[in-house]
């Protein structure tokens, strides 16, 4: 899957889970500081990415990812290993 496609789908999932405007999400956006993610929502974000891309992510490593761009790279690595 192309980086651009992954990025678009990641942004769509974030907009759904966090209830933010998709237009406002950039690669540099930080989940907590910029997108207002509450700590309780981190598990739901991880589960939503897993559901969208049909992958399993290691929870502790996934929760270390702080920005949208890093999340796209993280998911891309999982898709390549699939």
């Amino acid at each position: 899957m192309e980086y651009k496609e992954i990025e678009a789908r990641v942004k769509k999932v974030i907009a759904e889970v966090l209830g933010v405007d998709e237009e406002k999400i950039t690669s540099e956006s930080r989940f907590v500081e910029d997108l207002g993610a509450e700590s309780v929502q981190s598990l739901e974000l991880v589960a939503a990415f897993e559901d969208e891309f049909d992958i399993e992510m290691e929870e502790d490593a996934a929760l270390q990812v702080k920005t949208v761009g890093k999340a796209v790279e993280f998911i891309q690595r999982h898709l390549q290993e699939k």
Binding site: E16, V17, S39, V40, S42, L43, E44, A47, A48, E50, D51
Partner: protein, 323 residues
Amino acid sequence: MGLKEKFFEKARDTCKKIVLPEGTDERIQKAAEVLKKEGIAAPVLVGNKDEIISRASQRGIDCSNLEIVDPLTYPGLPELVNLYSESRKVKKGVAERILKKELVFGGMLLAADKVDGMVAGAASTTASVIQASALTVGYAYGISTPSSFFIMELPDGRVLFYADCAVNIDPSAQQLAEISISTSSSFQKIMGQQPKTALLSFSTKGSASHPFVDKVQQAVSLAKEIVGDSLCIDGEFQADTALVEAVARKKIKEPSPVAGQTNVLIFPDLDAGNIAYKLTQYLAGASAFGPILQGFAKPVSDLSRGAKVEDIVVITAIVCCLV
């Protein structure tokens, strides 16, 4: 009869169903065996059934009478998935994935009234237990801050509740107000008596001025706004004014139902709370039970990761008293 035995006796009266999501942990399995055998609670272990049974038998633990629920094969799973997906407004696929996590699954059993309480944390962090509880059972009415309390049993038999000594490092006035309300309600449920809740400071009713004092005064006003007169909450008081009637008579001009007869002590921050409970434990020879989580819509408690089997049994009995 000591306080611990009183908790056991009260728990035995109703023998509540308590979910223990860390079903493969050795201490949890041993605690479950004791709880069942002593009739204190009906434990429900979460995890893979074969794995739980084989580990228990290797450890010489009898779990033949225990209820074991596997999140992957639980017949009521579709109901829990629907409930989660509706309450959190996420897709069913997301709910299905998240409910594979034992802590979240345990919380959802509680949210759906399949059990009466949840005890976890022997193998998970406090943050994970709070997160799972917030996602499933949610917070109590008027509360948005989870907190914790200790039950202190003094050598003369007096019982005092201390909060927050474990969770909130530097609570705001609003959070302090919520901690006061949650702890008052926990005291009422567990002790069956009227809580008299004092918010502590180095100042008594404006005797000193400082932003620290302002925060506690604001918290008292906010707590009164939220609960009205239904709970006895007052302050700000110095500890001696809160605890000793003679001092209260001298220092307080207006009559207060709390000063001099406090049974619930609310500390301004975690420094004060944590230091105070340990000093009471080690200098006054008090027994400390806790920390017990509070602020959720249903009884949930965390365990310290170093918890011994007996600690787990006692915390579970206290959670039963909160149902």
